[in-house]
């Protein structure tokens, strides 16, 4: 009888424990929410890509709350629309800090907006994780934490990674054309800057003995790519390097196709990835940069599989077109920025900005794009984690460096191609 009583007690205890475990996340989230403030370009010319960051951020926060929140409190994300304007971004971050008194900040989308908002964050000593800033040489604020981990000298290193990929084919280009949007980040990658040592796509190509046969800059909002395409056709380079954003790449490829001109090799810097895939055969073989694609070894990074599943569902629910439901560099960078913020707060065990900032500087953070180390000597960048991807058989796959390439994927390019 006593044995039976004991069994009942143990069984009851297990039941109570199970019950407690099942409600723990909900219990853990009792209390005022931790408010994270930030802006995104929900309207304006940056909105197509910022939309991906919005969907990714919402999915991350929802998942965070379902799993116990942060420091045992639920997380609320206030997102304001900066309308793709750096001035607006700065003003709204000022408001988030001084009027809304948010606990934490999350950076906006786009180099210009991030740069403007970072100045505000610095003034108030707020920790500032961000996803996509590319003017690495101007960010000397100690508590900015870039997820777009492209190294301080991205104007040199990123181009070298691409050019190494081309040379790995054994038939590298002898001539190159540089066509770029006048967006500051793209200009830095194309022609370098006056602060650091010389670099940029043109300079780095010349260092390898490749002749730069064409340099064209075009403004955002260009509606007729015909004349640019005609210049490329006339120059007929072995390789076309395009500092593109959003739909620039699609527009230029279509304009070249209309002239019946097919570059032997082509690179697009920061395209919105879906529309290029939608072009089908015409865009086959195009190169771009990435920090993450949906294959190994990236899927082994911390949180990567969760991110892929959660983002797919969230993107579908948000009504994004199928080609934008794929996780790529933009979504992964967004996710990494959130992982950085969460790791900093949990590591510090508080919302104190200095404690969070110092913890991140000392420890770095493992994210979906790999380990991010924040080196103050390198403006909180460290190694350039850029990988080169290429459209092969209608899909983006990483092809370089070899250790990050998709199974059996290698760069496909030949300067001798017809």
């Amino acid at each position: 009888m006593q044995v039976n009583n004991m069994k009942v007690k143990v069984f009851s205890l297990i039941l109570v424990l199970l019950l407690l475990l099942s409600v723990m996340p909900a219990m853990a989230q009792e209390g005022d929410p931790i408010v994270v403030g930030g802006t995104l370009s929900l309207t304006g010319f940056l909105s197509p890509t910022a939309t991906l960051h919005h969907v990714a951020g919402q999915a991350f926060v929802a998942n965070l709350n379902e799993n116990g929140g942060l420091l045992g409190r639920p997380v609320e994300w206030i997102v304001l629309d900066d309308e793709s304007s750096a001035d607006n971004a700065a003003a709204l971050y000022e408001r988030l800090i001084t009027e809304d008194e948010v606990d934490l900040l999350m950076g906006p989308y786009g180099t210009g907006n991030i740069t403007a908002a970072m100045n505000v964050a610095a003034r108030y000593g707020m920790v500032f994780p961000h996803h996509t800033a590319s003017l690495t040489y101007v960010y000397d604020y100690e508590y900015h934490f870039p997820a777009w981990h492209i190294g301080l000298n991205t104007h040199i290193t990123t181009n070298n990674i691409l050019y190494d990929a081309l040379e790995s084919t054994g038939t590298p280009p002898g001539t190159i054309a540089i066509v770029t949007n006048q967006f500051p980040g793209a200009m830095n990658l194309a022609f370098g800057n006056d602060v650091l040592e010389p670099g940029g796509a043109a300079h780095m190509a010349e260092e390898r003995g490749w002749e730069v046969v064409l340099e064209v800059e075009f403004p955002s909002g260009t509606t007729d790519y015909g004349p640019i395409a005609a210049q490329v056709r006339d120059a007929d380079p072995d390789f076309l390097w395009v500092g593109s954003l959003g739909a620039d790449g699609v527009n230029l490829i279509e304009a070249m196709e209309a002239l019946d001109y097919h570059p032997r090799g082509q690179f697009y810097l920061w395209p919105t990835p879906g529309p290029l895939l939608d072009l089908g055969e015409v865009a086959e073989g195009a190169f771009s940069v990435t920090l993450f694609e949906e294959h190994e070894p990236f899927l082994s990074n911390i949180g990567a599989i969760d991110m892929v599943e959660l983002y797919h569902a969230a993107a579908e629910e948000a009504g994004l077109p199928p080609s934008s439901q794929i996780v790529d560099v933009q979504v992964a960078a967004s996710w990494s920025a959130w992982q950085t913020l969460v790791a900093g707060v949990e590591g510090a065990g508080s919302l104190d900005q200095d404690e969070i900032g110092q913890w991140l500087l000392e420890n770095g953070v493992d994210t979906v794009i790999g380990h991010l180390a924040f080196d103050p000597e390198q403006n909180n960048f460290s190694e350039d984690l850029t990988r080169i991807k290429q459209i092969q058989d209608g899909k983006w796959v990483v092809v370089w460096p070899a250790e990050f390439a998709a199974p059996d994927a290698v760069p496909i390019y030949s300067a001798d191609a017809e």
Binding site: L42, T43, G44, F45, S47, P48, A50, T51, L52, Q182, V216, E217, F218, P219, G221, T222, T223, D224, G226, P227, I228, A230, Q231, D234, G246, A247, V250, N251, E254, A255, E257, A258, L259, D260, T272, G274, P275, D278, L279, G280, V282, A318, G319, L320, P321, S324
Partner: protein, 290 residues
């Protein structure tokens, strides 16, 4: 030389697109005194509907005109009814239509999100195909919009100058009260003109869906240049709008090919300032309404 001629042709054709968008704007402004910013977002709304029609049915995007032409005639008519009922014109119309512009843009963003949308090439393979004159390529959809612009601007000119209704519309643009005294029902004619604006937006939208990657705020890429085309062509002058579209298209294209694309806006607006200084009624004058 080949680059120069190719760019010249490209500029002439893209001028057709500017012209077809500007025709609606210039009539609204010149005859009804409504500076209709909503015309831009209405055009893009038509483009999105064209996109939706084609991607869902797999049919040629221009077949969507069977839906969009009557639909946008009604939308244009309702908008004009609104302007007439609340006597919205001049500077006030700029403010009111800016509000409508924002509303239409929000609707597009809600339905199609801010993500980029483009018609698949297997539905519109001719988007990247060209007619060839020797070594020179004429992109098929650009040729299409150029021809459409000629037809629309010329037909509208004939309508305004050779028909009783057209003459009545011109009379309204000069003096509504006097026109009314002669038995012209300005309200009915205004509604008709509003419907026509909607039809023009639908036609331009179909071409935009074929030619461009869509985003809800894509309108901003056109506002500056279309205003320049309208001013250059002369308010209310549809043939002028077409001519000015071609002039600006060519100026932009040649600048882009010879100096650099970054200088295109500079050339466009310098041209506009020069014309406004020395020929303020526009290069082609207000021939349709004066």
């Amino acid at each position: 030389m080949q680059l120069f001629i190719q760019s010249l042709l490209s500029g002439i054709l893209i001028g057709g697109l500017y012209g077809i968008i500007a025709v609606g704007m210039t009539l609204n402004w010149g005859i009804m005194r409504v500076i209709n910013l909503a015309h831009f977002s209405l055009t893009f709304l038509a483009a999105y509907i064209t996109y939706q029609f084609s991607t869902v049915t797999g049919a040629d995007p221009f077949l969507s005109l069977f839906i969009t032409l009557p639909l946008f005639f009604v939308i244009g008519l309702v908008m004009q009814w609104f302007f007439e009922t609340f006597q919205i014109e001049g500077f006030v119309s700029l403010l009111v239509t800016f509000g409508l512009f924002a509303i239409f843009e929000s609707i597009m963003r809600e339905i199609w999100t801010a993500d980029l949308r483009t018609l698949p090439l297997d539905i519109v393979p001719y988007r990247v195909e060209s007619f060839w004159i020797g070594p020179y390529a004429l992109r098929k959809p650009q040729v299409g919009v150029f021809v459409a612009a000629i037809i629309v601007s010329a037909a509208t000119w004939v309508f305004l100058n050779r028909t009783y209704i057209g003459k009545a519309l011109r009379a309204i643009s000069q003096d509504r009260v006097v026109a009314g005294a002669f038995g012209v029902n300005h309200r009915q004619l205004a509604l008709l003109l509003g419907g026509m604006m909607g039809v023009y937006a639908a036609i331009a939208g179909a071409f935009i869906a074929v030619l461009f990657v869509l985003r809800p705020d894509g309108t901003v890429d056109f506002i500056g240049v279309i205003f320049a085309v309208v001013m250059l062509g002369g308010l209310g002058n549809t043939v002028g709008a077409f001519g000015a579209g071609v002039i600006i298209g060519v100026a932009q294209s040649l600048t882009s090919a010879t100096i650099g694309p970054g200088f295109s806006p500079l050339v466009t607006f310098s041209l506009l300032i020069l014309v406004l200084l020395f020929k303020p009624e526009g290069l082609f004058g207000r021939s349709a309404t004066s």
